[in-house]
């Protein structure tokens, strides 16, 4: 099976799991326990947090371990500011978008800023809004999970803070962490990450929080994670996360360049009469969103599946939620929206796989086009 759906999840690192297994055999104690063995686990968790802070060059931040990126996003959005004006953009992951809709339903003032065609936030509109309105909280995505568009979140947050230093800023960094070299600016108050997008395990994420930025917990209980996220920590999953984080940051530049060549190969190899490329050249190389105009994305996805290739779909045959909300917000018409598929790469994909993907995509789209336009 050839896997090109790495933005959905990645294959877990067996090497990291093996190491974590040996570690966990010894460090299985409850990190909140007061005896030495418990303290040792607690100390280890501290070092795992340092790993994350170090790779992001973050000096003013703490790490709160959570169960996933969605929980991190929810914690930031519901835990930072209770009432006020909340601003985000139309390209957010569902776990941010749904929280904002919930805020709106609860009577809060919520603003969704438009996107540019590649899926990045229209910063001019964002700044205009910030100049003319009071804002309490902003949430932006670092790398758009559907198009790969990169928002310059450091620059944007610094600019917003200049306009109003009291704005609290959250960034969903799930598709960026471990993939895009980046130093976390002190202007960013909260930054969400997830382990399983970088060969870690599902069920582990983190919210990186600026030390002085306020936050109320969503989950109450034993007061773990400085009282900000109760529940015994997933030590095994965190150990794997720790190991794959080190691995990814050690290779971050090489991986980026390598994946960029794969991305370029596919980009250039696709028959331009059949496919529209939605992701711009400046997008994260890890994500390539394309559309087989006039065809159905889901049908192409299943046809690829038949050939042993897995990709993500941006449109579904189902009548409900047929189109991707995010790609729609990029301004495309139904013909393009219908045919959207998402190819997402990892450092483990090979050039041969990319070639096979190109040939299969061109062949399938050609055949379907023949059937559909009899």
């Amino acid at each position: 099976m050839i896997y090109f759906d790495n933005a959905a999840t990645t294959k877990p690192s067996l090497d990291a799991i093996e190491q974590a297994k040996n570690f966990y055999n010894e460090f299985y104690f409850n990190p909140s326990a007061l005896y030495r063995d418990g303290l040792n686990v607690s100390k280890y968790l501290k070092s795992a947090k340092d790993t994350i802070l170090n790779v992001l060059g973050a000096r003013q931040h703490d790490v709160i371990f959570t169960s996933c990126g969605s929980e991190s996003n929810n914690t930031a959005i519901f835990g930072a500011v209770k009432r006020g004006v909340f601003v985000t953009d139309k390209g957010e992951h569902a776990s941010v978008n749904s929280c904002f809709l919930e805020k709106k339903n609860n009577g809060e003032k919520v603003e969704f800023i438009d996107l540019l065609p590649d899926g990045s936030v229209d910063v001019n509109k964002l700044y205009d809004y910030a100049k003319n309105n009071r804002i309490d909280f902003v949430s932006l995505i670092h790398v758009n999970n559907e198009t790969g568009a990169i928002n310059d979140v450091n620059k944007i947050s610094e600019h917003l803070k200049k306009l109003n230093s009291k704005i609290l800023i959250h960034v969903d960094g799930v598709q960026a962490f471990g993939k895009i070299a980046f130093s976390l600016s002190d202007s960013i108050d909260y930054y969400s990450i997830s382990a399983h997008k970088i060969n870690g395990l599902k069920g582990v994420g983190a919210l990186i929080k600026r030390k002085n930025s306020k936050l109320s917990p969503l989950i109450l209980g034993g007061g773990q994670e400085n009282g900000l996220r109760s529940g015994t920590e997933n030590v095994f999953g965190i150990k794997v996360f720790d190991l794959v984080t080190k691995e990814h940051y050690y290779n971050i530049k090489n991986n980026f360049e390598y994946v960029q060549t794969l991305n370029n190969t596919v980009r250039n190899g696709l028959d331009k009469e059949l496919f529209n490329i939605i992701s711009s050249d400046n997008c994260s190389p890890y994500i390539l969103s394309i559309s087989a105009v006039g065809l159905r994305g889901e049908v192409i996805m299943h046809s690829l599946e038949e050939k042993g290739i897995l990709v993500g779909n941006g449109s579904a045959c189902s009548s409900k939620n047929r189109f991707s909300r995010v790609i729609e917000a990029c301004g495309y018409d139904n013909n393009v929206l219908d045919g959207v598929i998402r190819i997402s790469f990892s450092q483990d994909n090979t050039a041969q796989e990319a070639e096979y993907l190109i040939n299969s995509l061109n062949e399938i789209a050609r055949k379907l086009k023949g059937i559909m336009t009899k």
Binding site: E298, V299, I300, E305, C317, S318, S319, I371
Partner: protein, 384 residues
């Protein structure tokens, strides 16, 4: 004093010399359904008795019983020896947490038991009033009735509730049928109604990968399993329909797409039926619900087969179908958003009243025999 469940059947009473056959079939169906659960099963006159089960299995057993066609009612009861004092004790335990008005109804199959039925009821009633201050007697309109059934074999059953279940006829008593199952609301309901009348079902689904995905197929498997619970297990046959859809799409007028698809489905269903011994084709069609279910469309699809096509829902309103679908818990699965036929093949303006001559003419552009033969060669059988 032992816990037991009495099962009663209804329509089988009406059977004459065949009664034994129906009783035996129902007994086998109950036994099959309770396989794997610790219990003993006894046949009594016009009823069955389930005993010696763990208390914790009671809900599991009744959930199974409620899906066996042919059972009319069941009661949880206590079984004691035909000794008045023991019967009284059982009644007292049975009513210990009850409040309101009651009456006692005694039935003595064992006529040697004394005192007589009226006296027994009166005596038990008196003892119940003494034991539970929250009770009072109302023989005309009681909140509940304590039934005391004194049998000839020395055993007495006491119970307060008759719980109504499916009724219908034992599955297998009305032959075998092949249900065309889609991922929608109607076909599982049609299957349920057919199984309830005693027809043992197999299911046939048309899958059009890659136009629809594995999720659509999984949904059908899930729905088939649910129908299978009323059918004593079930087989699902999956036929790849892709080539046929593509051929129709490429060669025939768009408005006949669905009409022609239905004709292929019926032909394949008949061929498969003959192969597996089915005596009828069952569909979830409801008159006029969609373009393919007008009388003209039904005439067109019906004309390619000779075996009976049963349409249990033909005169049902959609809301009534949905009500049954909710009752048998298929509704939530049916409305999942995975479609069984990709919308890419749906014509914008389907023929609502297809003219049979035109349909036949359109179909002549296809090698019908070859397409059916290919489809028949790739049938996947899933035992559920």
């Amino acid at each position: 004093m032992k816990n037991a469940i009495i099962l009663r059947y209804c329509e089988i009473h009406l059977k004459g010399k065949n009664r034994g056959y129906f009783e035996k079939l129902l007994k086998e169906n109950v036994k099959k359904s309770l396989r794997g659960i610790n219990h003993t099963f006894n046949v009594m006159h016009s009823r069955y008795l389930i005993e010696d089960f763990e208390d914790s299995d009671y809900s599991l057993i009744t959930s199974k019983i409620e899906k066996i066609a042919g059972i009319h009612t069941y009661s949880r009861c206590y079984v004691v020896d035909n000794v008045l004092e023991e019967i009284v004790k059982a009644c007292i335990v049975l009513c210990s947490d009850k409040i309101g008005t009651f009456k006692v109804e005694t039935n003595r199959a064992d006529k040697t038991f004394e005192p007589n039925s009226v006296q027994t009821s009166a005596y038990i009633g008196g003892r119940l009033l003494e034991s539970n201050q929250s009770l009072s007697v109302d023989v005309r309109n009681p909140d509940f009735t304590v039934y005391v059934d004194i049998r000839e074999d020395g055993k007495t059953f006491v119970y307060t509730e008759l719980i109504h279940t499916l009724s219908g006829m034992p599955v297998g008593s009305a032959g075998k049928g092949l249900l065309l199952i889609s991922g929608g609301i109607d076909s599982p309901v049609a299957g349920y109604l057919t199984a309830k009348r005693g027809m043992k079902l197999d299911c046939l689904h048309f899958h059009s990968f890659p136009y629809t995905g594995e999720a659509a197929k999984e949904k059908v498997i899930e729905l088939t399993k649910m129908v299978g619970e009323y059918n004593g297990g079930i087989n699902l046959y999956v036929v790849s329909f892709t080539q046929i859809q593509e051929a129709i799409h490429e060669n025939c007028p768009e408005e006949f797409m669905i009409t022609l698809m239905r004709r292929f489905m019926m032909r394949i269903a008949e061929r498969l039926s003959k192969k597996i011994g089915s005596q009828a084709i069952i569909t979830g069609e409801s008159l006029g619900q969609v373009a393919s279910q007008t009388i003209e469309s039904i005439t067109s699809s019906n004309s390619v087969v000779t075996m009976p096509v049963l349409r249990p829902l033909i005169m049902f309103d959609k809301n009534d179908i949905i009500d049954i679908s909710r009752k048998i818990s298929t509704y939530e699965t049916s409305i999942l958003p995975y479609e069984d036929c990709c919308t890419v093949f749906l014509p914008k303006f389907p023929a609502i009243k297809p003219n049979l001559e035109k349909v036949i003419k359109a179909e002549q552009k296809l090698d019908v025999e070859e397409l059916i033969e290919q489809a028949m060669q790739n049938i996947e059988k899933i035992e559920l």
